[in-house]
Symmetry: D2
Subunit: 284 residues, 4 copies
């Protein structure tokens, strides 16, 4: 074991920070990053830390066991440990829009994302040639009112086959089923093309244009059963004015969608997000 | 007559620009600014122009008559003409929040706003001392469910007495009556402390905090009978994160409210806004 | 002839707008966009207009001749006319950085850019595989101190062969020769990875880090003989703090470089930029 | 003793966080905020923490002594302790520009700043009436080439008389003497009206206009002997375009100056800034 990231949350109590940092020191770890947050209203403590171990003999398993017995049980912690050597495996879900797909695959090829993309799943065949350009397996899984169960089963089979850790909906235009959401709780990221909670649902740029807003936005969030209501990871905005048509909104929005989704992918894959009370703590 | 600003809108037709600019040239004016906009969907043409007249013998009245007969009737224009020498008179409505009031009066005293502020009207006495600091008459007009008609009558009397051109609600916490709205159509500016249409109504910072947004905003708009639904003049935003409490949202929001309201006051007083279909054209 | 864009600049004089718009009306054109600017200090008038012709019998040649005789000579205008049906041809110059290349080719493939990219020229072979992914001819033109003349000759030969209208340096790390600059005056766009005029030259992110700035930037500009001193087309910024390393600056900067260069390409290819006094007028 | 803020920096070493948090727990403190930073390049550790003490019997003096012996000497720390009950005393230096002065005094009066402003010092009499509006003592200290020593002596006398903790130059147009800088090291805040390091020195808006930048900025920084070279606390920017004159730059810049200076005052007075290697660590 060399470099690990630990995420912790629990009821706020005295001495948590001292106990955790003392424990890491005792087992020979060097803390290279620590950040914590207390939600005062809810009385919840959150912590993210990264440590290095010079002595690589300590195994993840023994560390986990030790941490569990010494700390986690005492403070009743929920916690996760990730080895920084393991790249998370991300599945891309797409439909017909190609701009987010190009952006993600460009970043992936340029080495910006510390992930693996073993598979792209779509309900249409349109974007196959892009997947092929970048040598990534592309599977069409039809998904309509009439074949939901079959589609869901096929999606889940593919996610298992490729050992997928998290899913990114890159303008995938279909509903995700409750079963899939519960299998990947807080691990499905969507990009919505508005500044949520303004303009949820379909055609947000048209609604924004009609309302005469002076700023448009995009929002990446974890998918929950309530459409466009999940925990927000990241948002960004762009100025518009009366000179811009709906088509201009859509074109400006593409840049927002690209950048906001890319940031969410980075934050999630670097284990910088924690979800609580339908909100995110984002350690950046 | 020396410097004037003209605002025009009408159905989009051929030759409007050529006709207007030719007319101005013919009567000896020099166009120092011209901007136009066509709402393609609605087929409406908007124009704003500023001109100077070297020959000051031409009067506003004769110009208006000539413009009306030569152009306005031909193209069926709605139009307004403003002398740049006359400062518009603005009434401030306030309640108990003082930050926008301090900001506006500071800018006013520093000579940033080309307006006059002859009167401040409030439903409470709390901010009287600030008005006095800046030597501006301060009138308390109580306004509750039970005295709406009396309050409205008193407000209108004061607005007439001080020859008020437009009204700014600087965090004034009461509803404006339909009668007052119709008297000052598209001339009452409100500042709402959210990124409309997200979080209309009361306590938007609390709602934003609960929803876990990553960006908060403020919106200035013209007041219509539908609460927080009027034409948007200007919006701006600030980033927030999990580390910020509701109180932090409110404090950051104060800066947004100040700046967004100040920009709306400048735009309106410089005759840079036009309203159509519950939206604004803002020539900046 | 159906849709054209006209760019004009000349000494500011009375009646230019009226004369131009009257002329367009006379020859049967419908102005769909008009914007103008007067540089008061320098007394220069700029105009950009787009028009449609219902009667497609009028040819570009006859229009040009008519415009020249009727207007351009009278007002001593510098002017250009572009058919909107013709896509400008852009050459990409690259070295080893791939992020801007991926971004541009992704946008190009997604149909966002109304241009053609007939060729990519590089001083290294590294990015050939990306060009091949997107089926674009890739030529290596070595360029060092010792072979400048030969390199320049080869570059110019390729630009001619592919009928190139403008050049984009997508993090091309070599100097452009004066001869090439003069051949493509105001038609070579560079992306510099700082907020010019701060941090010109090499390693701007390192300098920004050392100086402890709280905001970093990127700048797209036309290339002139003075390094990083050419007319600025577009700039944008991102916030940084003490928690960010030089590597974080570089990673955040990549997003700025991508977006600022993409915007400059759009503005230039849509004929929305005019250069004067080492500055740009950008009609947006 | 009830609520304190502690700022620490020292060479980065193992177990600092554990040692500090354990110490605080041992003496009965409850950590309500902790943040730390490691400058990896320079190998320096920074920490800011806030704690509450339920048992108010412990005095600042005994805590300081204990902390010094137990921790500070062991880790060779530089450290400061502030009681949150004590408001820092800020002196304002002004000349003739009034917009920052109005803004600061408006915020001060509205209760936004947790400071005291016992005195305003100016080299001119122009802004006296504003100081009087807000009931703050106003002293004119002439400061020219010929009376530097006398001016400096008078300034220092006033700063002592009013027990000033830190100084804010709200567009004060004179050089601060080296002696005064050394007396108030990292405690004099200036607002410069450009995006440093671009456009240091005089008339930055004019230089920005001449260069044709698309974004202007403002920078607050601690004053050092090198003009406009001190550690940057905060920066912000605004978009400009060819339509803006130098006067527009100046007017837009006023809003930047106001907001950037106000943020710096808040950060400094809340003990959220630390200076190292001519840079700031800003815990926000």
């Amino acid at each position: 074991m060399q470099k690990i990231t630990i995420l912790i949350h629990c009821k706020d109590q005295k001495n948590i920070i001292a106990s955790v940092t003392t424990f890491i020191a005792k087992v020979g770890g060097n803390i290279t990053y620590i950040d914590q947050h207390v939600d005062v209203e809810q009385n919840v403590f959150f912590m993210r830390l990264e440590c290095e171990f010079a002595n690589s003999e300590i195994t993840i398993e023994s560390f986990k066991e030790d941490f569990d017995q010494t700390l986690a049980s005492k403070f009743d912690m929920s916690w996760d440990l990730y080895s920084q050597e393991q790249k998370p495996k991300m599945a891309l879900f797409v439909s017909k829009y190609d701009h987010c797909l190009f952006d993600i695959l460009g970043r992936y090829s340029a080495g910006e994302l510390n992930i693996e993309i073993p598979v792209i799943i779509s309900n249409h065949n349109d974007l196959r040639s892009i997947a092929e350009k970048f040598d990534i397996p592309f599977h069409v899984v039809p998904f309509t009112k009439d074949n939901k169960e079959e589609g869901e089963a096929k999606q889940i089979e593919l996610l298992k086959r490729y050992h997928i850790d998290f899913i990114v909906l890159a303008r995938y235009m279909q509903i995700i089923t409750p079963k899939l959401i519960s299998l990947y709780e807080n691990r499905i990221i969507n990009i919505h093309h508005s500044f949520l909670p303004a303009f949820p649902g379909a055609k947000p740029y048209h609604s924004a244009f009609k309302r005469g807003v002076k700023i448009i936005g995009a929002t990446s969030h974890y998918v929950t059963e309530e459409l466009d209501e999940g925990p927000i990871i990241e948002q960004d905005i762009a100025r518009v004015s009366h000179i811009h048509s709906v088509e201009d909104f859509i074109m400006k929005g593409r840049d927002l969608e690209r950048i906001v989704l890319a940031r969410a992918i980075k934050l999630h894959s670097q284990r910088k997000t924690m979800v609580y009370s339908n909100k995110t703590v984002v350690f950046s």
